[in-house]
Structure formats: structure tokens, C-alpha cells
Symmetry: C2
Subunit: 237 residues, 2 copies
């Protein structure tokens, strides 16, 4: 374990592992506190990174040597404070870039992920600072994900629940679209199910949830209903 806070620049793969450990450990709900994250299994990381479990073990070993994770064999991996910081930094880059592409360059909110995924590893702190400034230090990205501040604090979010967990007849506002699947994003964008959209839940069925968005009614498969996070509230603001 290396304690010297030295910044041997991490590889792209290493940064991605740390980011995924944070995301998986948060169960999609980052609280901003390392203590609230769970240990992540080798398996789930392997799936997420599209790699064999053995490859994950290898990488975790390296990250553990760097003092960025604690890996208890057979029990999963957790970030250390240092690793958590790096992961938040990467997340900040990613989400700021998404914001910037959307607001400054006119990308659709469903298009920004792929470009941000590449760029997040290659921008300087100066660049980060400049776009954050230009954007007015936003708290959330175009998908509704919270953006860590320059000091790596996460902003508070209002209570919300998955669309699939909404009660019959309830109204609400989409506050977050929690998927990175490009096809899912395209579909949701086409239906107008973007952050800020107003929806009503009509009924839950075995195949999915029947909902109303504007004048249109859709039967949304459960897989998709689970990625939409809703803030409950009266009909159409």
C-alpha cells in the first residue's frame, strides 16, 4: 500500500475501474459518503467492464497496491479515501463534460454520454474549472445525475423513487434517467421522457407500467421504468 499521496497518473482503465466501483457500490444512489457504499463483487465489475473476472482480480491487485482500494479476497472491493477521491474526480469530469456538450454545443441530452466517456480522462484541471465556470457550477448533469463540486462534495438531492415504484394514479417529475445504454436513452428521448418531464402512472402490469406523458400513453417495460427516477408532485406544473 502506497501512502505517499503521489500522483502517478492513472491509466484510463484504472480510472474506469474506480468509477465503476463507486457506481456499483452506490447502487445508483450516490450519497457523497464513502461509508454508505457497499463492497463490490468481482463478478459485477467484470460484467460492467466487459471483462473476465480473472482480469478484474488482476486490476484490483494493482489498485490495492496503489492504495486506492481495499480488496478482501472473496468479499469484494471497496474504495479507500484516496480511491474515492479519484472516482469522484472522474465522475465530476464526466458529468461536467456532459453538461457542457449539452448546453454549450447543443448536443442532445441522450447523445452526451459517449463523448464524455472518452473526454473525461483527457481534460486538465484548468479545462474542468473553465467549463464549470461557464456553466455556472451546475449541480446536476443532463441525465439528472449529481455533479461532485470542485471540493468533491455531492449536492443534496430531493427524495425520489423509481417510476416502477410509483403508486397508481400518482403524478411526478422525471428527475433522473439512470442508464447508459444508448438504445434505451434514444427510446426514452423519443418519448419525451427526459429530466424535467411530467408523467402520470396509470397502472402497473406484468409487462411493465402504463404511463401518460403529455397527451400520449405508453406501456413502458419494467426494465425502463426502473431507470426513471421520479419526484412525486401534483399534476403538470
Amino acid at each position: 500500500m502506497n501512502n505517499w499521496t503521489t500522483r502517478t497518473p492513472l491509466s484510463e482503465a484504472q480510472e474506469d475501474y474506480l468509477k465503476q466501483i463507486l457506481l456499483l457500490g452506490s447502487g445508483g444512489n450516490e450519497t457523497g459518503r464513502l461509508e454508505d457504499t457497499l463492497a463490490v463483487s468481482t463478478q459485477s465489475l467484470a460484467e460492467q467492464m466487459q471483462v473476465r473476472p480473472a482480469s478484474v482480480t488482476g486490476m484490483l491487485k494493482k489498485l490495492a497496491e496503489l492504495g486506492l482500494v481495499v480488496h478482501e479476497a472473496y468479499r469484494g472491493v471497496r474504495l479507500t479515501e484516496a480511491g474515492y477521491k479519484v472516482a469522484l474526480e472522474v465522475l465530476r469530469h464526466h458529468r461536467l463534460i456532459e453538461c457542457y456538450l449539452h448546453q454549450a454545443l447543443g448536443y442532445g441530452w441522450e447523445e452526451v454520454h459517449a463523448e464524455a466517456e472518452k473526454l473525461e480522462h483527457h481534460i486538465s484541471e484548468a479545462f474542468e474549472a473553465r467549463i464549470a465556470e461557464w456553466l455556472g457550477h451546475p449541480s446536476h448533469d443532463p441525465h439528472g445525475d449529481a455533479i461532485p463540486s470542485a471540493t468533491l462534495e455531492l449536492p443534496q438531492s430531493n427524495p425520489s423513487c423509481r417510476l416502477s415504484g410509483l403508486e397508481r394514479g400518482a403524478f411526478g417529475l422525471v428527475v433522473r434517467v439512470a442508464t447508459q445504454d444508448q438504445d434505451a436513452l434514444n427510446l426514452l428521448a423519443h418519448l419525451g421522457l427526459r429530466p424535467g418531464a411530467s408523467v402520470q402512472l396509470l397502472e402497473h402490469l406484468r409487462e411493465g407500467s402504463r404511463i401518460q406523458v403529455g397527451q400520449e400513453r405508453y406501456l413502458l417495460p419494467t426494465a425502463l421504468a426502473q431507470v426513471l427516477w421520479i419526484e412525486e408532485g401534483g399534476p403538470r406544473g
Copy 2:
């Protein structure tokens, strides 16, 4: 030699080699025509890329296999049409990014090079198109270097000469600052010797050239006087 126009994505290093072959082969004066470029020596490439000549030979072999350069042993290397296209594409990315950092994000013209150097390899064609549009399809970057168009044509430049070649008493406009050395850029920026600045040449001395910029007079070392390209013209526009 691979003729299939396939786009096996090139590595960062490969793109950098191609770019440097173009820059060195143009002697700092790109005409936009491959025929006007000279063969580049292994040595000069090695210096530019900060590696040993043997490494250059190795890389040239690989690039030749990809059909991007023609390497005549012991006689130097030239770009093929395909390699020339790639090099221009990289140059376009680099210079557009420099413009964008300067105009959209407020970077100083002397600061943009380093950031662009990293980003040029990691932006998509969509990103390139969007920033080109935002900028209004500029023809030159903040250093005065010509930007290849979307179709990879280089814009015509007005005739110009090095400050070191100017005649005694002549007036002119800085149109290009042809160095990537950060310290040189900083120094020139501090003296106000940026593209667009008006200068008069007072006299040439052994140590350099005495010049006047605004109210100030400087003795500019020859090494620096050679990177400043001047368009001759009457005193202060």
C-alpha cells in the same frame, strides 16, 4: 501496404508521428499540397518526438505497412495521400481546439497549445463539427497557423516573411508565431508580440533584432525573431 481504406483507429503516437512528418516536411510553411513537402529524416523526427532514431525507424515501418507513409531506407520518409489526410485531420483538430479554447473558454493564446495537444486525439468528428460551427469556421488559429477546412483544404495565406528577414525601418503586422516552446510563447505574449500586433524593425545586430512594439523597444534574440512571421505594411493600422 494496406490499400483497404479501413480505419483501424490509429494510436496517439502514430497520429503524432504523421503530424510531425507533415510539419517537418513543410518546413513550417504548409501549402496544402503533398507534392510540396520534403522527405523527412529519421534524425529530425527523433529529435522532434524525443525518442531514439531506432524507435523512429520502428514506427515508420509500422506506418509504411499501414500505407500511410513511404519510407525509402536511408533517404527519409514522406506521407502518402492517405497519411497526408490523417495528418491534416489531426492538424485540423489541434488548431480548431486551440481556437475554441481561446475564444469560447478564455484561454490565453499562448496557453492553448498544451491542452490541444492532448485533446486532438480524443474528440469525435461530431465534436469537431460543432466547435467549427460555433467558431464560424475560422481559417487560422490563435498562433496564426492555417486551419485545414472540413474537406482538408488549407486556406491561402498572404505573403509574409520572418521578422529576422525584415528590412531596416520596415513596418509590419505579426501574422504568425511559429513555435510551440512554452517559454518562448510566454515571453512573446508578455511583450505583446501576438498575431495582429504591429511592429517596426529598427536594426539588425549580431545578438538579435532591435524592434519597436507600441511604445516599447526590445532587442529580440534571433532565435525568437525567426519564429515571428510578418506581413509587411505601413505603420500601425
